[in-house]
């Protein structure tokens, strides 16, 4: 069984040439080193014949680069992150990179541990959705010369590459949309979080509310987990009659909120109009179809790879961070219109 793996040494010996020669040919330096056309062909043919491929491990050790990028997100089983993962993966392979993923569960301790683990493992770069208080670790990464791109959230105190979306602007638009549709008491249901993507969405909501001389109704769900969320939102609606519009800042909050409203006999969109951040396949299936803000997944993935490859490219190493702020799209559906 297991045909012993060939090494460059074996190739060289069999062909009666030196390792160096083989290595040069392998790395496309035959011309440069003026190795005869004939020998080059011969070596290449033999290599193809026996199906030899260099050991990436040895190359990594020698070159100090592993061609591995870590994709560290809040939760890889979350549809949004999984979709990005999928898109990134493709682009990474195309460029000879592998992706290792991991989930932080948005816990700072776990994120730090993960970062340390991978620093040690000679990965080349990190794509991270930072947890709270991760500034120091991230700076450390930068100092030590790792490639780094943040996404979904960024850190005002750290100068680095990132790919994010226009959270504030989209939240403003969503809220304004509800107001335009005649809502007078528009609530924001969000998670209790000081992370910037959430505070930006809050800001957008607040701006829209105050520009229209309305009163804000902000409800922040604490210690988010599915079951709790549902209960809290149920309470909120019970205690706040008269709400006629709701903007959910994440899709899972919306799912729970819709369930809660359904069980309270609240008619959507008749009594309450609804908009959610983060579009989802299911929003289009739900009755009524839910209006939602769609993030440009494909573009996010593309820019993420562009940024990380840029960082990893020796030639451009020092040309400064790449920062992308992408536009979302408001998909208007039944929940805010009928």
């Amino acid at each position: 069984m297991a045909k012993k793996k060939l090494s460059i040494k074996d190739i060289a010996k069999t062909l009666g040439v030196s390792i160096t020669t083989v290595s040069f040919i392998l790395n496309g330096k035959a011309k440069e080193k003026r190795i005869s056309e004939e020998l080059t062909k011969k070596v290449q043919r033999y290599i193809k014949e026996v199906g030899y491929t260099p050991s990436h491990l040895a190359q990594s050790l020698r070159l100090g680069k592993s061609k591995v990028i870590v994709f560290m997100v809040e939760d890889i089983s979350n549809q949004f992150f999984a979709s990005i993962a999928r898109l990134i993966e493709e682009k990474a392979y195309l460029n000879g990179y592998k992706i290792i993923y991991c989930s932080t569960e948005n816990e700072t301790a776990k994120a730090k541990e993960l970062i340390n683990t991978f620093k040690v493992r000679n990965v080349d770069g990190f794509i991270i959705t930072p947890t709270p208080d991760l500034e120091e670790s991230v700076k450390g990464l930068l100092d030590e010369g790792f490639g780094l791109v943040l996404f979904d959230r960024w850190m005002p105190d750290v100068l680095c590459s990132y790919v994010i979306v226009e959270n504030e602007k989209s939240a403003f638009e969503a809220t304004q949309h509800l107001i335009d549709r005649g809502c007078k008491k528009v609530a924001l249901i969000t998670v209790e979080s000081h992370q910037i993507q959430m505070t930006d969405r809050l800001k957008g909501y607040q701006n829209a509310i105050s520009q229209n001389q309305l009163s804000p109704y902000v409800f922040q769900v604490k210690f988010h987990n599915m079951a709790q969320g549902y209960d809290r939102i149920l309470d909120f609606f019970s205690n706040n009659p008269g709400i006629d519009g709701v903007f959910f800042t994440t899709n899972y909050l919306a799912f729970e909120g819709l369930e809660a409203m359904g069980n309270l006999g609240i008619d959507v969109p008749g009594q309450v109009k609804v908009v959610s951040f983060d579009d989802h396949y299911f929003f289009n299936l739900y009755k009524p179809k839910i209006t939602a803000i769609e993030q440009p997944l494909e573009l996010i993935a593309e820019k993420l790879m562009e940024a990380i490859l840029h960082q990893l490219d020796e030639a451009e190493m020092n040309s400064g961070p790449k920062q992308f702020i992408l536009s979302n799209k408001l998909n208007i559906r039944e929940s805010s219109t009928i």
Copy 2:
């Protein structure tokens, strides 16, 4: 910036001992090699102080093991696979393994290419949802001594470890359930696929139908993609009036089917009762809530890791494949009862 990475050599030099000594201490062989308690402590203290960690790359090169497992599924952005991924990931890290993921899109060519890529990259093991006609590649992996566990599907012709669920049995139960609820014309909507997980589900359906002396109505959607699926299913219902029960073999078929039925004005469960394979968060949110077969995700992940670690464990290398066939659970909800 970038404080130069320490090597074992640096440690040895600074402490004035040999590399060997440090290595032994590092690898817990201090006692065995009878290195003085005192020296051991001193070295350990220093290592901790400077935060030294061995290079995994060099270790891998030396030991021929990389502590990397490839998780190769049909589509990592699919909820089912993403959930498993998430669970696997945790368990892998706990055991010192990293996970690299990739999606085959169920294309044999892509799967083969991916397998080759990773073989070359010195990964230790593979967890694979095989595409059609992947037998040879899989056998190759086995021959070359890689760890291997199949899941979701298995290959009758290849003796190897796998983790699957009771597809036929659950399909039988689901169909029988519809019949018990009074359905007389029960349709099966499935994908056109010769892969065993799907043929097993078909078998289960057929058995239940024939045991109850009913007629089968099997509709196999070809060339599956979201948009097409919807259209085809729409046609099916238009052309087959009188169907009063449907069993969907995957959840995405169910989503499309439900949408199609909704648009045709078919009342679920009044006119048509519905059961789907692969439970989903949204089945519980949908109106009506959808009856579905739930695969034991947590258990699948657990057994997957158990099987792969078993394979990778030197000591037990030759103790034969581990094959798990797990039970599903039928979650009965409104779509098949009211």
